[in-house]
């Protein structure tokens, strides 16, 4: 789908992409990087809108430097920022955008009705966009990227500004774009956790350099963390401590409370999940102690956690590792300031 070979983009002051070589196949691919890591620059180059300083890139087998128009006919793009005029309805807007992609009027109308239904906009599609919620606007933006039935869509931060429910719905929709519609997806985000569950493959870039590229299962094995919260009982006045002791005894790795400062942080155990077995152990341990399990959920990771190499991740968690992750996060933020 996408192949780049030592792709570089230098602006007078910053290097946005630095000899980036990627090979992205069909499916859902996540592109993760902090703000300014070069994600948007990469998308611009892939659409053939901005020439690379060095190196080559091909999308759908077409060279971006020479076949920009042909690529853009077969690729959809959803920008990160707002791009919708408030005074027209979603239908009018998407029909217009379909015609801009070269679809004849009747086909544009049919495809618009279909696409808006697929992204979950029904009666409201006849109302002016100005009155839509953020979630509905994101759906319109997605619809205009899909209306011409592209082979590949580039989604720039599609979950930005959405609440947790909206995020999950959008991620589900992105998954369906590939499984139901047969369209490959490149989706960017600065949150690794949400891409893990949606993507087949994740590419991490930082400062325009490739940091890591691997299938999602690799990430999941080393980085999944479970948040566990339990009730207290008469037998165990401090249920959290009791479970902590029992889990450590069962050979489960626990992370230090990274979430200090959050309400109730002291009552949440962060458990390193080594596979399906961990879920069962946690369940059995809690049940065995006669406590109530309030929740057990996957934690969304911050990109900084990618910096933990596999060798360091399983290490019993200490203050030192937490501090190290925090330093990595700080470097991330610092690194982000010189981006495009």
């Amino acid at each position: 789908m996408i192949a780049t070979e030592s792709l570089s983009k230098r602006f007078p002051r910053v290097t946005a992409l630095d000899r980036l070589s990627l090979d992205i196949g069909p499916g859902v691919t996540g592109l993760v990087g902090a703000n300014g890591a070069g994600k948007s620059t990469l998308i611009k180059i892939l659409l053939g809108l901005s020439p690379a300083t060095e190196g080559t890139a091909a999308v759908l087998g077409l060279d971006v430097a020479t076949s920009g128009g042909a690529i853009r006919e077969r690729v959809g793009y959803m920008p990160e920022h707002d791009c919708l005029p408030p005074d027209v309805s979603a239908t009018e807007f998407v029909v217009h955008m379909a015609r801009m992609s070269g679809l004849p009027v009747t086909a544009a109308r049919e495809r618009t009705a279909d696409t808006l239904r697929h992204v979950g906009l029904y009666e409201e599609r006849y109302r002016p966009i100005g009155g839509y919620s953020t979630g509905m606007k994101q759906r319109v933006k997605l619809a205009q990227a899909l209306v011409h039935d592209p082979q590949l869509v580039l989604l720039d931060e599609p979950t930005n500004g959405l609440d947790p429910v909206g995020r999950d719905e959008m991620l589900g929709l992105i998954r369906r774009i590939h499984t139901d519609f047969g369209i490959s997806v490149l989706v960017t985000s600065h949150l690794l956790g949400e891409l893990e569950r949606t993507c087949d493959h994740v590419v991490v870039i930082d400062g325009g350099k490739l940091l890591r590229s691997s299938s999602t299962s690799d990430f999941t094995q080393t980085t999944t963390t479970l948040a566990v919260e339990v009730t207290d009982s008469d037998a165990h006045p401090d249920g959290t401590e009791a479970v902590r002791g029992a889990l450590l005894a069962a050979g489960i790795t626990l992370h230090a409370g990274v979430e200090e400062g959050l309400p109730g942080a002291g009552h949440i155990l962060l458990v390193e999940a080594a596979g399906e077995r961990t879920y069962d152990v946690v369940r059995d341990t809690v049940a065995g102690l006669g406590l109530g399990l309030v929740r057990m959920e996957q934690r969304r990771h911050h990109i900084a956690e990618v910096f933990k190499t596999p060798a360091q991740a399983p290490e019993p968690v200490s203050e030192r590792a937490a501090a190290w992750a925090a330093t990595a996060a700080a470097q991330q933020n610092g690194g982000g300031s010189h981006g495009s």
């Binding site: 006919e73 920008p79 011409h148 047969g182």
Partner: protein
């Protein structure tokens, strides 16, 4: 009973038919008509938009009102000419646009920002450029649409005058020549005003500023030129009057049509430019049109994505 049962079954069928079935995703294998088609679509959408067609009822009011205001005086003059059996129309074809310049100014001030500022303000421009359409297509489509909208506005009263003149059985050859000269003149005017209006409004994403700025550019330049020309006329410095006309859009058009299209100048003392100075006028007009196109191209290089 049977009829009733059949009726019930009908209703159930109808209910079944009104259900929305999820037919799954359908791929599109139809034609993709590419850049030229997209450019034409953008042109027609922008041209219709300039008259409020395909937009809300509210946005139709002003352009339609201005269109009526442009045509009404022409219709009245025609009616008078027919009724009084006059030998000539009360107004020259080339003079109409000069007389109605305030209406033309209002139209371009209201519609040029509408045509370009919305896409800039709501950041829709990147969506265009992520499609086969390119910067040059976008600028050409918008420029052509605005110029065509102005041409329709300025040529319609000329058509009314011409049809009226033929109905009044005025001299055919004479009227046709005047009509043709008038059309050339308003075509130049449409291109020039569209260029100036679009450049001014593309520089600001705020529509209100755009409207004010276009009106300011047109009226201040015309006011200043008229004032200076008036002073020059009072000072008996008639030779300089023609050169001051180079500094405002409407006097530029006046100069070109005086020199080449048989018009009578509206300058003080009718001191319009001759063929020599007229060439300078024509060159300045063409340079301004080309210049506005170049500025628009530059402007959109910055806002793509």
């Amino acid at each position: 009973m049977a009829a009733e049962a059949a009726g019930t079954r009908m209703t159930q069928n109808q209910i079944a038919q009104t259900q929305i079935h999820n037919i799954g995703y359908r791929t599109y294998d139809g034609p993709r008509l590419g850049r030229a088609y997209a450019r034409r679509s953008l042109f027609s959408q922008s041209l219709r938009g300039a008259y409020g067609l395909g937009r809300s009822a509210k946005s139709k009011v002003l352009p339609m009102l201005l269109f009526a205001v442009m045509c009404l005086p022409a219709a009245i003059m025609v009616a008078v000419a027919v009724a009084t059996k006059a030998n000539d129309l009360p107004v020259d074809y080339t003079r109409n646009a000069i007389l109605m310049q305030a209406v033309i100014g209002l139209f371009i001030a209201a519609q040029a920002p509408q045509t370009v500022s919305r896409d800039l303000r709501f950041r829709t421009v990147p969506l265009y450029f992520s499609r086969p359409i390119e910067r040059v297509d976008y600028v050409l489509a918008k420029f052509a649409a605005m110029a065509s909208a102005l041409f329709i506005l300025t040529a319609a009263p000329l058509v009314v005058l011409y049809v009226g003149a033929l109905l009044a059985k005025l001299d055919f050859a004479d009227q046709t020549k005047g009509f043709a000269q008038g059309l050339v003149s308003v075509a130049l005017l449409s291109l020039l005003f569209a260029g100036i209006g679009l450049v001014v409004s593309a520089l600001t994403p705020r529509r209100g500023f755009g409207v004010a700025a276009v009106i300011a550019v047109l009226t201040i330049s015309y006011g200043a030129v008229s004032a200076v020309q008036g002073v020059a006329f009072d000072q008996q410095s008639t030779g300089s009057i023609q050169w001051f006309g180079l500094f405002s859009p409407i006097t530029l058009i006046d100069g070109v049509q005086t020199a080449f299209l048989g018009a009578t100048s509206a300058f003080p003392g009718r001191e319009g430019p001759g063929a020599g100075a007229g060439t300078v006028y024509l060159l300045v007009v063409l340079a301004l049109i080309a210049g506005s196109y170049a500025v628009l191209m530059r402007r959109y290089r910055k806002v793509g994505l």
